[in-house]
Symmetry: C7
Subunit: 92 residues, 7 copies
């Protein structure tokens, strides 16, 4: 889990997606576009939530989320996803 000085706004959370496998079992390197987008990640920062929409996940939580959830955000060379708390399906 990377360190990051970013404070998500309202009910948003910042997620570091799990790295997608870059080799198949037999050692074939998968080109970038063929890699399945990961749907699992670690929460690295959370907003304070709103009255209606409290944040229910914590920093460090391993979360699952939909394939098209969130917006990609590059911070210090690392790719994150910024998404709403309610985009999270649940925690592992």
């Amino acid at each position: 889990m990377s360190k990051v000085s970013f404070k998500p706004n309202e009910d948003r959370i910042l997620v570091e997606p799990a790295a997608a496998e870059e080799k198949t079992a037999s050692g074939i390197i998968i080109p970038d576009t063929a890699k399945e987008k990961p749907q699992e990640g670690i929460v690295v920062a959370v907003g304070e939530g709103t009255t209606d929409k409290p944040v229910t996940v914590k920093v460090g939580d391993k979360v699952l989320y939909g394939k098209y959830s969130g917006t990609e955000l590059s911070l210090g060379g690392t790719e994150y996803l910024i998404m709403r708390n309610s985009d999270v399906f649940g925690t592992l």
Copy 2:
């Protein structure tokens, strides 16, 4: 009912669909695409609900739900459905 260490978020529930019949009465094996998607399952995990949307089903409940409800989620090799509590039609 499988064991699973997954905590659904907000008003979501995790459902293990009932296995679809893989043979007809006369023993013919049905190819995968011809099997009717099951609409019956067992609740294996529930979220804590939200103020507006409490979770009304319990772990172990046998539930019926719509053909297109939920999102498929693979956990430890088993296929589950993650859905909203209100996607459940009712309990058997």
Copy 3:
């Protein structure tokens, strides 16, 4: 009215549609696709309602509802309709 062990979720109700006439007055048998879908039925099970949407019909009520209301649900060989309480136009 059939017996059924099904508990509708939230503000849903389970309705057993009235049987459509299968013969015309002159005794001609109507093929299945020509039968008009009944819009009258008996409530056989009701959910507990939600804070915003209480259930206002009771088991045993004879209800009228729209032609396209509800989802068909087969329980123990009988065809029911599962619908929202507010889909009911009124009770006879």
Copy 4:
């Protein structure tokens, strides 16, 4: 105003539309499809309303409503309209 044993659900009301003129002033009979749909009727039954949507018209009120308001409902051979209380423009 006809007698009818039907209890509208929630904020719905049952309206008996005023009969459309079937002859012109000169005595020509108007075929059914040429008759203008009446937009005036008598309230014959009202629901109990909901917390958010109380019923504001009473049985016996002569109401005006939009050309496409409500759903036709046949009860005991008479054609009624079942509509929401808020579909009523006002009372004469």
Copy 5:
């Protein structure tokens, strides 16, 4: 301002549109379809409003409203517009 015995429902108001000019300054009679629809009128009846939507105009108010606001309503040979209170831009 005409007398009218009509009680608008909920947050509706009844407006008598100002007569459109039927002659140009030079005395040319404007055919009906060329007359610009008036957007000014007099409130002739008001509903009691709802909890969320109180009626803020009074009988006798000269109001301005949008070109496509309201529904035409003929009462005793006079053409009125029935509209929602919030369709009114303001009072002159």
Copy 6:
């Protein structure tokens, strides 16, 4: 700022748009359709607001608003815009 006897309804405000420049720096007269629609104006009248939508600008405020905000309204020969309070981006 013009005088105007018009009371906007609910959360509406009346704005007098700033005059668009009719000549370029070199004295060329700009034809009407080529003039950029002004997005700056002076508030000349405000409604009383509603419970949910209070009016936050005052008469005399110089406001900025979106190019397509409001409806044109001609009062006593002057062109105004009637818009919702929330259409205002802010005050200068």
Copy 7:
């Protein structure tokens, strides 16, 4: 950070976008249309918020926001973005 005498309305904030690089590392000047729109900026003014939508960022905050957030606003020759508080992903 520029000085600006502009008060955003309701839950809006005024953001000064970070300047996009106008030269590549090798000194090639990038034509205007090829410059990537910046998604990072400094909050230069904030509204007072509404009951439902309080403003959660402060003047001086370095914020990240979506590529298509806000409306461009030119004040005193500087280009700003006026956006809703909730358009902000978070603060750096």
